[in-house]
């Protein structure tokens, strides 16, 4: 039996918090119902998934060319393009831009890539204040936490917890658990910050190569404010977010919010095509795009793993995952939790760091079933399990492949494969096992902590069908 690891300790802790578990269940139930209601016609949904998958697969099939085209057109539009191979490089680029403007603060729209970079922490260590303006991100930043969900970062928090948190951090504001009042308070606090911030940061949902347009999907308007009010706008994104044409956007925009939150469309959809032009009255005077690799090129190099990069970060796989709903996002110990995190994180950082996550799946397939771009998540989990114990590690780009191969486990599978591929051995073994069925212990470790031990039959099916005279060829 596997020894308790750090991951399993965190899981057990999370499972013990019944109130939070009930809260997660309720939240995920709502998201699942909302999504289902958005797709009443399954044939239409499947057609849209096929379209979205094709758009993303097409973009990835010519990723290097499209990235070049994107860069050319962005530059033409007046956007400054930066390439970062590592998160450290990306952080340094952001810092460099900040220093050039002598900026001491940055206001942020929601960006999972900035979480991936650990940007807030990086900037704060250098005396720069990074303020989250997405309500969920704002809440968890107040509490010194990280997102527990890629779309709804504060989903683990109850209304009561948020009320108490606001009261603790802003004693001047009278205590309330009225959601509208809490939101209004956050809005007031943030509004001043938007006007004061010298730099705004955002993520990118789709980067259109054909036109050099950065698309940003959001609900609160904070994305628009972060990208238009401060004089400098820095967008950060992964290199996989590029799509070929502007005409690719409607399909993706149609399926993203419906899959994510079950909204027909988000409140805001921003198309950023450059800094303020001489005759324009608003908008930033400088726009930068930081394109982050951080392992994505490695994933790109493998035809099977490549599908990982199709992801449009809707979070539907998370919302539908029976594991996530029970352990919550923080137990994963990663930036991206749930099924997408399970395949992405070990590929980004290597199997020794987050390799255990690939065991945190029953391979039920709920994630793959709802994925709007049909990433075969269970198949990729299976592939990463193979990578984690394979011997021909030169045949996979996955870092630290083979490092989870344990000699006892490997020997057990080897012995099993010999027995199960040798009928005489298998039949002798199974017959003997049924004869000794009384000797099966009642304590089978983890299995019997909540279940009774299974009982072997008196006679195998092989024996019984032989007795019944069923033909064998």
């Amino acid at each position: 039996m596997a020894k308790p690891t750090e991951f399993r300790v965190d899981v057990e802790k999370a499972l013990g918090k019944t109130e939070i578990r009930a809260h997660f269940r309720k939240a995920m139930d709502t998201l699942m119902i909302n999504r289902r209601n958005q797709f009443p016609d399954d044939a239409a949904l499947q057609a849209l998934r096929t379209q979205a998958q094709a758009i993303r697969a097409n973009a990835l099939s010519k990723l290097p060319e499209l990235l070049q085209q994107l860069e050319t057109n962005l530059i033409k539009n007046g956007v400054q393009v930066h390439w970062a191979e590592t998160t450290d490089e990306a952080n340094q680029i952001v810092l460099g831009i900040m220093q050039k403007h002598n900026a001491k603060s940055i206001i942020k729209g929601k960006s999972m890539v900035s979480e991936e970079m650990g940007l807030n922490h990086f900037l704060e260590e250098r005396g720069i204040e990074a303020l989250e303006s997405d309500l969920g991100e704002f809440i968890i930043q107040l509490d010194g936490e990280t997102p527990s969900h890629i779309i709804m970062p504060a989903i683990h928090k109850s209304k009561e917890q948020i009320s108490a948190l606001f009261h603790e951090k802003f004693p001047d504001i009278p205590y309330t658990d009225n959601v509208d009042e809490l939101t209004a308070s956050a809005r007031r606090i943030l509004r001043d910050k938007f006007y004061a911030a010298p730099v705004g940061l955002s993520g990118v949902n789709f980067a259109v190569a054909e036109t050099g347009t950065l698309c940003l999907v959001e609900n609160e308007g904070n994305g628009r404010m972060s990208t238009t009010i401060p004089p400098v706008h820095i967008a950060v994104t992964g290199i996989e977010k590029v799509v070929e044409k502007l005409s690719d956007i409607p399909s993706l925009l149609s399926i993203l919010p419906r899959s994510a939150t079950g909204q027909p469309i988000t409140t805001y959809f921003n198309m950023i095509s450059g800094p303020r032009k001489p005759d324009e009255k608003d908008g930033p005077t400088e726009v930068h795009l930081v394109l982050l690799d951080n392992g994505r090129s490695r994933i790109y190099s493998d035809p099977e793993l490549l599908a990982t990069l199709r992801c449009i970060r809707c979070g539907a796989c998370i919302n539908h995952c029976p594991v996530y709903v029970r352990i919550g996002g923080h137990s994963y110990g990663t930036v991206y939790p749930g099924p997408i995190g399970t395949i992405l994180e070990p590929q980004k950082s290597g199997l020794s760091v987050h390799g255990e996550l690939i065991q945190a799946s029953s391979l039920c397939g709920a994630c793959g079933e709802v994925c709007p771009v049909r990433i075969p998540i269970p198949n990729i989990i299976n592939r990463l399990r193979y990578d984690s114990v394979r011997k021909d590690t030169e045949n996979t780009p996955t870092q630290e492949a083979g490092t989870r191969r344990k000699s006892l486990e490997a020997a057990t599978w080897k012995a099993w494969s010999w027995a199960a591929s040798t009928p005489s051995v298998y039949n002798f073994g199974s017959k003997t096992a049924t004869q000794l069925r009384g000797l099966v212990p009642n304590n089978l470790g983890a299995w019997t902590s909540v279940r009774s031990a299974p009982k072997l039959a008196e006679q195998t099916l092989h024996q019984q069908l032989k007795t019944l005279g069923v033909d064998h060829e």
């Binding site: 039996m1 399993r8 899981v11 057990e12 029976p322 594991v323 029970r326 352990i327 065991q359 945190a360 799946s361 029953s362 391979l363 039920c364 397939g365 709920a366 198949n379 299976n382 990463l384 399990r385 193979y386 990578d387 394979r390 490997a410 599978w413 080897k414 099993w416 494969s417 010999w418 027995a419 199960a420 591929s421 009928p423 298998y426 199974s430 049924t434 470790g445 983890a446 299995w447 019997t448 902590s449 909540v450 279940r451 009774s452 031990a453 299974p454 009982k455 072997l456 039959a457 006679q459 099916l461 092989h462 019984q464 069908l465 032989k466 019944l468 069923v470 033909d471 064998h472 060829e473």
Partner: protein, 249 residues
């Protein structure tokens, strides 16, 4: 068209723990006038090793199976996950191997039992049993890999005295997942505990499924809860066993 004969792949779990399910499945098929061939050299489809990342070991076992079905007749399997292994994963497992074509020939002829009973044999069942309320657990592989989620209900719908009760979170995994139950025991336990609660809440006296992995998991939890917590334990049976018991004269 109804085939004259079929191969039956019984699965290792049924072989060792639930042979009655296998025998019942064979009897159901024979009753439809189909000759059942059960190659005695069969062992396991290789799925446990495949799902654990031990592909070479899985292939070795799978290779021994694909030789057992030389005739061009259907291969019927009383399990969604073993059928899914052969149908959808053998093509991946044998990709680029010298015997890839043989593996594909097997994969293309695989049917899950309830799918075969409904779609190919178009069975007509007559209920001879007492009135009973039944909950159905469709395995994730039957639902998503094989796409045969509604077949058990279609079969039960033919039984006049069977009332199907639908549990909450019906489509959610029971937490078995093969080695998942051992490698992540805490999460698996939480999942099966919820699953038993939802099934018990329907008041159904009986649970049926087409997969013995799920049954071993759920019925094991029922038995444990009966012993340690004094809770009721619905009777859990493979759908083949349940159907045979209710319909043979």
């Amino acid at each position: 068209m109804k085939p004259e004969s079929i191969y039956f792949f019984g699965t290792c779990l049924i072989d060792l723990i639930y042979p009655k399910a296998g025998v019942s499945a064979v009897q159901l098929l024979q009753r439809e006038g189909v000759k059942v061939i059960y190659p005695q050299a069969q062992t396991c489809c290789g799925q446990p090793a495949w799902n654990s990342g031990y592909r070479n070991e899985a292939r070795k076992v799978a290779r021994a199976q694909i030789q057992l079905f030389p005739k061009n007749i259907p291969i019927v399997i009383p399990s969604g996950s073993c059928a899914g292994m052969m149908k959808t994963h053998y093509p991946e497992l044998f990709k680029g191997e010298p015997d890839e074509a043989d593996a594909l020939k097997v994969a293309n002829r695989v049917y899950e039992l309830t799918e075969f009973l409904v779609d190919v044999l178009k069975v007509q069942l007559q209920d001879l049993g007492q009135a009973v309320e039944v909950a159905v657990h469709t395995s994730c592989s039957a639902r998503r890999e094989m796409g045969v989620a509604d077949k058990i209900e279609q079969l039960l719908g033919q039984l006049s005295n069977v009332d199907v009760k639908e549990q909450a979170y019906k489509a959610e995994c029971c937490g078995f997942g093969g080695t998942f139950a051992v490698k992540q025991p805490e999460i698996s336990a939480a999942m099966v505990t919820d699953k038993t609660q939802h099934i018990r809440a329907t008041g159904a006296a009986q649970l049926v499924s087409q997969d013995c992995g799920c049954l071993m998991n759920i019925s094991g939890a029922f038995a444990y809860q009966a012993e340690h917590e004094g809770k009721s334990a619905p009777k859990a049976q493979h759908i083949a066993e349940f159907l045979w018991e209710r319909t043979h004269g």
